[in-house]
């Protein structure tokens, strides 16, 4: 053990004494002190294996100086290292020569050419001539090891970064080394392709061109690419990304190694759903989610017709003004895809101009925004280092993939405990210390059990007493050191069930912190900007701001109490659980849609206002932990799409009002000045990791770009908006204290939940999320759309036995709206009596099971199953 009282040790590198942290890897310590040691297999986000042998340096030891791998050796006090001796140079040159011996000389046609660590280190160290006159190794090239990844085995240098990533980081050992010696190769199984949702990371960290991404392959040469640093808004984790384009065409998104957020990793959905943005301008069917909306549209004689902005704004204003003449006659739904500035502008418009309190960025599939705001918050880092994490959420790998990676690492590498309140299939199960199985409608009862160490509240607990006892032990007395990750695991269940569970846990464990697991891109930012009943911008809570949420608005539209709706985003029908009710609501009302993409919802639109989408806009967004970070434009928007701030401001003008928001910077300044919520300061420092709302700014310096670990991101100078700061310098934000949010006591206790008793003849339905669904991003990305699975009904083996069916057999499922046929799949992650289907998928026959089966009126949905 190292001496705990020492915080630094001294080592000598090339005769120079440097300070290092005890136990630090030599390669890291040397690099911080300015001595770069070449490497290939070493990756700072994975365990060292020391197998490429490129980093050999001479280290003084009891038997004289010996060659040691700097990536594996931990420093200790007094260590004497030579990284430049003749012996070191010969060894390193030798390794490089060996690596190149069988490496093809196809750099000019290789995707990695120009951004290749092997190429770079060859130029820096290589002798330039080859002594290898033998026939090089030949393999059939390239092979498709997964839907998205191609492997060229001739280029592989066996560094094992990809296989280690797959098994160690992602937990998906679908690729592994096969063979031995110089025939060793990376291989997937013929029966199970590399379909990990993290597969793209292996391409990014490959130090040569062995792994290439199908969507990117041959699309660009690195030196043609321009890039900005931005934040991924595919889900609400907010991974830092480098967005690259060639001309006005997006070519690639790469993960940036941000310490607090994504550690360089991205999920494949975030990485590869690019076509949806710039690939479909040509598509014309506005009812297709893949179509970009490039000009304003107004419905004339039943058809959406292109018009000028002026006409579209005037028409929209007329409709909204008409409806708002009825008390409570208008409202807005959506907004989670906006930037904070866009959301702020629309909030000003709806509350300030329309005078409506009916606004909600969630689609009835989230959690009570005021309750969320009242919870003591944890950051992702805190969750990933908590003694115990308790998840009360859907499958995080499907909903918030990088949060899943962080929590998995915490359990696997750091040995922290994970207690899972398990609703259904979950990729964390295999690393969880305890999984307490929860049936639909019973989350609050399980929470009660966890709070009292007594499962008495549950008629028949779906877990053993010993499991409950272990979970209670891990949570401890008052929740100190514990983080609850809370989301919305079941879309076929009243939110009140989970909200009630959260409330119980928050009251019982006052020292615990909470991390919301809401998944939709900038949902937290939108709520923080006041796009929610009872919330004012900047984490303001005001019980008097008591408007309708989304579900209430849809009800009111159906009943005629509300006349018109402003949709902030065009995907309402793709997001609500009860599509039939939503259609009825839209049918009955005037509909103004502000959107970048088409979709089924536009069939009901009266006016469509084209907006810019991600990678075309500048602004800030807020992730699940409340981290505000910048998004940057890499492309110019197609046609005449406008930023939301401009659309809201212009629409206000039609009402004769001035929002005072002439630009995104104006909006950011207004947010920060009036609420203390970080906005302009983040925008001005847009290549930072951002700032967490309500927390002091981090003093830790940002992790420098490591082109050996994450090749392809060009250089730190190319990243970010350094050039833009000139335009924003004029603003100086006066520090405003952040408002105090709601307290738990203030937030209404919520509705009581009464769950109908389970009967022996029906199954309770769990509707959960998949990463690959038929949402807008996926629809526009042919590369990924094929990965969306068909709907199946998952059941526990006991239930399969009871029905007398096995995996693959088709059963009749009867729900609220009728009967449909679905194949069953065995999944023992489900409790007995629970059937699971995935939201946003279709059955083989093209039917939407959620639409058919969901019982919107009931706290839980029950279905009947029959074999044919």
């Amino acid at each position: 053990m190292t001496d705990v009282t020492r915080t630094t040790v001294s080592i000598t590198v090339n005769g120079r004494v440097i300070e290092a942290r005890p136990g630090e890897l030599l390669i890291e310590a040397a690099e911080r002190a300015g001595t770069f040691i070449p490497r290939f297999c070493y990756h700072p986000r994975m365990e060292s294996v020391g197998n490429c042998r490129m980093c050999l340096v001479e280290v003084e030891g009891p038997r004289g100086a010996t060659l040691q791998p700097a990536c594996y050796l931990k420093v200790n006090d007094g260590m004497n290292v030579d990284t430049e001796s003749e012996k070191v140079k010969k060894a390193q040159d030798g390794v490089l020569e060996f690596l190149l011996a069988n490496h093809p000389l196809d750099c000019p046609v290789c995707d990695k050419g120009g951004e290749c660590p092997l190429q770079d280190q060859t130029l820096a160290h290589g002798s330039g001539e080859t002594r290898f006159i033998e026939e090089k190794r030949h393999f059939v090239k390239p092979v498709e090891i997964g839907e998205l990844v191609l492997l060229d085995r001739e280029r592989c240098i066996q560094c094992s970064r990809c296989t280690r990533f797959a098994s160690e980081v992602a937990g998906d050992a679908q690729i592994a080394f096969a063979g031995r010696g110089d025939l060793i190769e990376v291989a997937s199984s013929p029966t199970q392709p590399f379909d990990s949702v993290f597969s793209g990371n292996t391409v990014q960290i490959c130090p040569v061109g062995a792994l290439t991404a199908k969507p990117y392959r041959f699309t660009a040469r690195p030196w043609d690419l321009e890039q900005v640093e931005s934040t991924c808004t595919t889900c609400a984790v907010g991974c830092r990304v480098a967005v690259q384009s060639s001309g006005n065409r997006l070519t690639r998104v790469l993960g940036i190694d941000s310490d607090p957020v994504n550690h360089g990793w991205l999920c494949d959905k975030g990485r590869f759903t690019l076509d949806a943005i710039d690939g479909n301008e040509a598509a014309v069917d506005v009812l297709e989610a893949s179509t970009r909306i490039t000009e304003p549209l107004v419905r004339r004689n039943g058809t959406l017709t292109p018009v000028s902005w002026g006409e579209a704004l005037a028409t929209a204003a007329t409709l909204l003004r008409g409806a708002s003449s009825t008390p409570n006659g208008v409202g807005a739904i959506g907004g989670a895809a906006l930037t904070n500035e866009g959301a702020f502008a629309w909030e000003r418009f709806v509350r300030g101009v329309l005078g409506s309190e009916n606004l909600d960025a969630q689609y009835g599939d989230g959690l009570d925004a005021a309750l969320l705001q009242a919870l003591p918050k944890a950051t992702i880092d805190e969750a990933a280092s908590a003694r115990t994490v308790v998840t009360l959420a859907g499958d995080l790998r499907e909903e918030l993939p990088i949060l899943f990676l962080r929590l998995r690492e915490s359990a696997v590498q750091r040995g922290n405990s994970l207690v899972e309140l398990s609703f259904g299939p979950s990729a964390l199960r295999s690393v969880a210390s305890v999984s307490l199985s929860v049936r639909p409608g019973e989350a609050h009862l399980v929470a009660q059990a966890l709070a009292t160490a007594n499962a008495g509240a549950l008629q028949v607990p779906a877990f053993a007493d010993s499991e409950l006892a272990e979970a209670c032990r891990l949570v401890g007395e008052d929740g100190e050191g514990v983080v609850f990750v809370v989301g919305r695991p079941n879309l076929a269940e009243d939110a009140a069930v989970v909200e009630s569970a959260v409330r119980i846990l928050a009251e019982r464990y006052p020292q615990a912190k909470f991390l919301p697991a809401l998944r939709r891109s900038n949902v937290i930012g939108a709520l923080d900007m006041g796009l929610a009943p009872s919330l004012a911008p900047g984490r303001g809570f005001d019980a008097s701001l008591n408007g309708r949420g989304t579900l209430a608005q849809l009800d009111a539209l159906v009943s005629g109490e509300q006349k018109a709706v402003l949709l902030l985003g065009g995907c309402l029908l793709g997001n609500v659980a009860d599509i039939e009710q939503a259609k009825a609501a839209l049918d009955a009302s005037d509909v103004v849609v502000v959107t970048g993409h088409g979709g089924a919802t536009l069939a009901y639109a009266d006016v469509v206002l084209p907006a810019v989408v991600q990678h075309e806009r500048t602004g800030t967004v807020t992730n699940i932990e409340g981290r505000v970070s910048a998004v940057n434009a890499k492309l110019s928007a197609p046609g005449s799409a406008w930023p939301d701030v401009a659309i809201a401001a212009e629409l206000a003008e039609e009402f004769g009002q001035n929002l005072g928001l002439a630009s995104v910077e104006d909006a950011a300044k207004a947010i920060e000045e009036t609420t203390g919520y970080p906005a302009l300061s983040v925008l001005q420092d847009s290549s930072s990791d951002g700032a967490v709302v309500g927390r002091p700014a981090s003093s830790a310096s940002r992790r420098p770009l490591d082109p050996m670990a994450f090749p392809g991101i060009r250089s730190i100078d190319m990243v970010g908006l350094g050039s833009r700061s000139g335009t924003t310098e004029a603003f100086n934000v006066a520090p405003t204290p952040l408002r105090v949010g709601a307290s738990l006591a203030q937030v209404s206790a919520g509705r009581g939940v009464t769950v109908p008793l389970a009967d022996n003849y029906s199954w309770r339905l769990l509707v959960s999320r998949r990463l690959y669904d038929r949402g807008t991003a996926m629809q526009g990305s042919p590369a990924l759309l094929g990965l969306v699975g068909a709907t199946t009904l998952r059941l526990n083996h006991l239930d399969l036995d009871r029905l007398g069916v096995s995996s693959g057999d088709v059963v009749s499922v009867t729900g609220a709206r009728g009967t449909m046929q679905l194949p069953v799949t065995l999944d023992d992650a489900l409790a007995r009596g629970v059937g699971e289907i995935a939201f946003g998928t279709l059955s083989e026959a093209g039917d939407d099971a959620v639409r058919m089966l969901i019982d919107h009126a009931s706290v839980v949905t029950q279905v009947r199953l029959e074999t044919r």
């Binding site: 098994s167 998906d172 050992a173 679908q174 690729i175 592994a176 080394f177 096969a178 063979g179 031995r180 291989a187 997937s188 199984s189 013929p190 029966t191 199970q192 590399f194």
Partner: protein, 206 residues
């Protein structure tokens, strides 16, 4: 549904139970899968992955590290001939060429009748009887071309069935005994016994 036949499935479960961690049973289980199918079929690999809590890619990758596992079907008899140093000095290469001619197939391939697969092996640790020949990992100890041909005839005639089972069958002796005790109990007993010994020793020295 298990891909293993009932009896093999039972042996597989016994094997898994022998080790503190189930993945440790990987090599014995792969031998077992090969005993059933003669090679490692996709189904056999899937079953081993399930039994060891790993993935098919991992099992396949692991298996392919080891020369004794075959990922493609092979003949009923896999004939291995060593050409490493001791055998080289005793005509191993010539023996390999001879075998190739006799069996009518190139090294690394299977004879037309599907009975024999010929392999060049590394040292088989029987160098006093070089060049060393194994069939299905049984030493057949035929050091001359004539003896080799006779042995092949005997195999064809079924006269060596007892000595040389079909490819994949490695260990025909099934483990019968076992500790069958709780590990904690054994450790406690060990400590107790040590204390008793020490007490006895202390008394004796007094």
């Amino acid at each position: 549904m298990s891909h293993f036949r009932t009896e093999l499935r039972q042996r597989a479960e016994e094997l898994v139970a022998l080790y503190p961690r189930k993945r440790s049973a990987m090599l014995p289980l792969l031998h077992l899968a090969q005993e059933q199918d003669g090679y490692l079929s996709d189904e056999g690999i899937a079953e081993v992955a399930a039994l060891t809590g790993t993935t098919p890619a991992d099992v396949r990758g692991t298996a392919s590290f080891y020369d004794m596992f075959h990922l493609e079907p092979v003949g009923k008899y896999v004939v291995g001939i060593c050409t490493n140093i001791a055998c080289l000095l005793a005509g191993g290469e010539e023996m390999l060429d001879h075998a190739s001619a006799t069996l009518g197939c190139a090294v690394g391939s299977t004879s037309a009748d599907g009975l024999f697969t010929l392999e060049e092996t590394e040292c088989l640790a029987d160098c006093n009887l070089a060049p060393c020949v194994q069939v299905n990992h049984r030493y057949v100890r035929t050091t001359t071309p004539e003896a080799f041909d006779g042995m092949i005839e005997d195999l064809r005639g079924g006269r060596l069935d007892h000595d040389v089972p079909s490819h994949g069958t490695l260990i025909r002796v099934r483990r019968s005994g076992g500790l069958r005790a709780d590990r904690g109990e054994v450790v406690a007993e060990r400590a107790e016994a040590q204390a008793a010994r020490e007490a006895r020793a202390a008394k004796e020295t007094k």
